[in-house]
Symmetry: C2
Subunit: 352 residues, 2 copies
């Protein structure tokens, strides 16, 4: 099942993940604002996927603009870029993708709107292609960390649905399985929006990879019973020091993994690394609507009047992270040196 599809007539179809697994429905977006709304509503979610969706959002914007000059055209696309980049604050891939498309547009030396449009769309296609191929390389690198017979605990959904395809953390699991390893997965359900129960369980079940859903508060007991060999999650933003912002609950898992001497791994593309930040405390953590916690499936589960806290992410300090798997290889501590080395490698290769 594809996370998104670009139709030749200039439409973006986004799989509405809020209805999964019960309802499979593609949202047809003809305007970038519809993409912005879909990102805000989590119809499309997962750091890499929202980056790709935003890039296509710019392609929609670029296709709809009538402007009297190249500068005016670029300004109008930039307005859409600012709006798309502001939809969610924590995942850096979103800004990264939007900025990359804008750089391509600005560097396209033409006054012809058709040429400019084509450049924007071409860059969105490239980001999408590279995301999926990057995930496959991530899988090839990361699978060496997965022992035969490993029982892997993951959180939220860092799968095909969170990316252009294949997945980051789940991509590593797919790659380990593809080379014949007899592995199994525990999926933390991931309250409040249950991406683990709804999406990760669904992806794994469809691939025939044994998967067991637990409520998030069972993770410690699961580890204490010796039922987990490693923890593997995705990321929304990684600082130059190796601090990792990811779905709320990730930090608790990292602490629990340390207590039980279980390695805690992160799989994410280099576009997730934000070298401008040195500490996780600098990462803006999105707080979302209380209704995500107070209501479930339309039913109220918290009494009226009671306060709720709803941070969508947390930060896991680098000291708890055994390795970060990117499409350029496996990065081990010390992260301040090794992450930069990993990313610079990637930039020079991209420049080839």
């Amino acid at each position: 099942m594809e996370t998104m599809r670009w139709l030749e007539e200039g439409l973006l179809e986004l799989l509405d993940q809020t209805g999964l697994p019960g309802t499979v429905n593609y949202l047809k977006c003809g305007d970038y604002r519809e993409v912005a709304t879909a990102i805000k509503n989590l119809s499309v979610r997962g750091a890499p996927a929202i980056g790709v969706a935003a890039a296509y959002g710019l392609a929609l914007a670029a296709g709809n603009i009538e402007a009297e000059s190249r500068d005016a055209y670029i300004d109008r696309v930039r307005e859409a870029a600012v709006e798309l980049a502001a939809t969610r604050p924590t995942a850096v891939n979103l800004c990264w993708a939007v900025e990359r498309v804008m750089r391509r547009l600005i560097s396209t030396q033409s006054d012809d709107p058709g040429v400019l449009r084509h450049a924007v769309l071409d860059e969105a296609h490239a980001i999408r292609r590279e995301d999926e191929s990057g995930n496959r390389r991530m899988g090839e690198f990361g699978r060496e960390l997965i022992p035969q017979g490993a029982r892997i605990l993951t959180h939220c959904n860092a799968g095909a649905l969170a990316t252009a395809g294949y997945g980051t953390a789940l991509g590593v699991i797919r790659a380990a399985r593809a080379e014949g390893k007899d592995i199994s997965v525990f999926a933390g359900e991931t309250r409040p929006l249950l991406q683990g129960a709804r999406l990760t369980a669904w992806e794994m079940y469809q691939e025939g990879i044994p998967v067991t859903v637990i409520t998030d508060n069972m993770a410690g007991y699961l580890m204490a019973k010796g039922m987990v060999d490693l923890v593997l999650v995705g990321a929304d933003r990684i600082t130059s020091s190796g601090d990792v912002a990811n779905k709320i609950g990730t930090y608790s898992l990292a602490v629990l993994a340390k207590e039980h001497n279980i390695p805690f791994y992160v799989a994410a593309p280099v576009s997730t690394v934000d070298l401008s930040l040195t500490s996780g405390s600098e990462i803006q953590i999105e707080e979302r609507d209380m209704a995500e916690v107070t209501h479930l499936a339309g039913q109220q589960i918290v009494p009226t009047g009671v306060q709720v806290w709803n941070p969508a992410f947390d930060v896991t300090p680098a000291r708890l992270v055994a390795a970060i798997i990117t499409e350029r290889g496996i990065v081990r501590p010390p992260y301040p040196q090794n992450l930069k080395k990993n990313i610079l490698t990637s930039q020079s290769e991209e420049a080839d």
Copy 2:
């Protein structure tokens, strides 16, 4: 709101907690088997409350029996006792209450069924009264552990609803509040059945104690942000070594509390202490129906075919427990010595 009411005509009314806070409904039980079902279904839940309910269940059984001899009468009550004690395996208060009622019955030197019935009911009333008064004493002892301004994280519901009244962990919070301390509570929602969101939030809100609900996976991040001063929970069974079985997720909180140098306290009556067990690994952990995890409010949240694990409790080792608050005082490590001392004190006082 009362957890249960004994009506003079020989009926037990049990507040059906599965519908709270939306629906307030009392189940009328005229037969002990209805009480057994209510315990299994969690209509009545919380270790002390199910002990009291089972005692009243025996009173119902005792009231309905026609037997030709004292021995036959006691045998028939014992059948009900065995059935009630088997409804849930983890909370020891259940067996404790049932055994206490049976001891009273057996020690009642009469052949008159009316006298025997009265003894059973009288013992049930006594267990109920002592539970509530014990909770108030627990509150008086425990409140000294609650600093002015404390922000307290609790889990599940160890409140009035989990007991005959006042509560264990929430009783300590009530007592601290009653002496004018300006405290606030974070209630972990407690998946799968949301006793924290539904019951603890409701109890605290009704008392005007500031309460904020979080999903269970937010606890680590909450602590990392310095927003928690202490963790305070109830217990379903405590071994002689101080290992604590309590609602699933408690162990994760204890590990997280240790990581953040936050004290982790347990409040429970001495009837929760099982001196016959020396290690938490000997405690039978109830595993409940998968549907509790796969469905919420009638809606399916885990894809069909996916496995689920649903342990209802976990075990927190004594080394993570800063103190255990009972109705006899505050017990500190080393627990093997100090718990026994605390309980023996209680037994000799009861013998007075």
